[in-house]
Amino acid sequence: MVGYHIKKALLYIALIILAAACMFPFLLMMVNATRSGSDIVTGFTLIPGKYLIENYRTTFKFFNMFKGMWNSLLVAVPATILSAYFSTMTAYGLAFYKFKGNSIVFGAILVFMMIPGQLSMIGFYQLVSKLHMVDTYWPLILPAIAAPGTVFFLRQYIQSSLSPSLIEAARIDGAMEIYSFHRIVIPIVSPALATMMIMGFIGNWNNYLMPMIILNTPSKLTLPVMMATMRASTDINSNYGAIYFAVAISIVPILIVFVCFSKYIISSISAGAVKE
């Protein structure tokens, strides 16, 4: 029995060490964001310094990260809302109505869930430049209307949680189909929709490759792309405190989202795993 307790304690210690490994880099980042560049390169400590304001000045002299956050919001919020609304609409259409081509659309969704993004990247850029949409947010927002993975997930959810009798009852009462969609379908899928929206928002917010290819005016860059331009600033690169500060600022919004919605985030991954 003593062996049992010792082993259990050892397991807990291992789990805690792993948890520390997950948080330690972020802790170092927070501490270093408050220290001066010359302190950081000469010594190691976990005691915060007094250079927070100084690092803020150096960083924001090169770029305005709040503008980057605002730009990221301008892309991520509409993309998330459009994706949620139209994915629910498509999923409902596919799950509830028997029409010609239903199975073709669903088949195409399955195929495109398997196709890696790089296959469309070059053709996509060519299309965007033909439409004169380079350096605008449209190519980052509009494609969100057609999100195969989200549609697939919501279609499964609607099939298992929406009873046809509800819609039929509404029909007898004379309700238009679109009215039923807004008043019956959307409220019923809202728990699944919430998780999809949070994950969609985080994905959009963190997206790097596509915005980097599409955007080029510095004042239009989203936060991750703006962050990457940091490589060009000698002021920041010669001051490690400023680098840590910039990284810390870029992480804060996602940390807030995580603290508020962790329940949804965790359940969305579990749901995805069981569904697949």
Partner: protein, 307 residues
């Protein structure tokens, strides 16, 4: 008469389906289907950037298959992926074993899984800059910390150039990638285990089944489909690895040629001014797709054979 009218009404209702699906289909055709086909078409042309192009058949594919830099990029990607996946799935699997163990009944799953998942949420750009700075061989806090620890024990530490040494840099990228993703894999495996009622485990325990029997006979079969899913998605994701190595290892870095992934190779020809050859880059995209396809089919077959 009445029956006929009823049927036509049902068809009329079903016509609403077109309306509900229409926005998706239109946007899907324009922004997903067309670009994929356009890339395929371009892969048979000699298009440089913009302007005129000629149809050159399979020349791009042949050139790609002959380019040793393409294969070295693929080899780099595979090397990074293997280290990454072994760590990521191995760790997730161990954690799943610990938390589903019937003997120890570990507590705190909710807190631990939140912490383990945390790195997965942060943008790869931020992670790249954070580790690039932490791991700098001269000024990075990681080496300075190691130096302090070594000197505490009266030893001297020769700073390791984590992201500049050709033999080390790829592994460092792989470890960071695993650090970002093991929590995600762990959550998925746990979801598989928890999908089953605990009665199963208790009944087995009452029947006198040992914990290893329970693990082998109940837990493993339960999570097998999820293991397959995680393995395949992480393979597809792994072969497309870009953000982390692209941002951490710069062109001037001596380790660059050992860390350049297929996606970085594609980016070089698709989007980098100076080296841009759109037709060739399109062929590279399809080469990568074919490789991913073949490997996923092989992987699926392997999983099936074991059944």
């Amino acid at each position: 008469m009445a029956g006929l009218r009823k049927r036509s009404k049902i068809t009329a209702y079903n016509d609403w389906g077109y309306l509900f699906v229409a926005p998706f289909v239109i946007v899907f055709l324009i922004f997903s289907v067309y670009p994929v086909l356009r890339t395929l078409y371009l892969s048979f042309t000699d298009l440089k950037v913009m302007g005129k192009s000629n149809f050159i058949g399979l020349d791009n594919y042949i050139r790609c298959a002959k380019d040793k830099f393409f294969w070295s990029a693929l080899w780099n990607t595979v090397k990074i992926w293997v280290v990454n996946i072994v760590l990521q799935l191995g760790l997730a699997f161990l954690l799943m074993m610990v938390f589903s163990d019937v003997k120890y009944k570990m507590k705190g799953l909710k807190v631990f899984r939140l912490i383990y998942y945390l790195p997965n949420l942060i943008a790869a750009t931020s992670i790249s800059f954070l580790f690039k700075t932490l791991l700098d061989w001269r000024f990075g806090s990681f080496n300075i910390m190691l130096k302090a620890i070594y000197s505490f024990f009266g030893q001297t530490y020769n700073p390791i150039n984590w992201i500049g040494e050709p033999n080390i840099a790829g592994n460092v990228v792989a470890v960071i990638q695993a650090w970002m993703w093991f929590g995600n894999s762990f959550l998925m495996l746990m979801a598989g285990v928890q999908g089953v009622s605990t009665d199963y485990f208790e009944a087995a325990a009452i029947d006198g089944a040992g914990r290893w029997t329970i693990f082998g006979k109940i837990t493993l079969p339960l999570i097998k489909p999820i293991m397959e899913y995680v393995a395949i998605t992480s393979l597809i994701g792994g072969l497309q690895m870009f953000d982390l190595p692209f941002l951490m290892i710069e062109k001037t870095n001596t380790a660059y040629n050992h860390v350049e992934t297929v996606m970085m190779y594609l980016y070089k020809f698709g989007f980098t001014a100076g080296t841009q050859r759109t037709g060739y880059a399109s062929a590279v995209a399809y080469m990568l797709f074919l490789i991913i396809l073949v490997v996923s089919i092989v992987q699926l077959k392997l999983f099936q054979d074991k059944e």
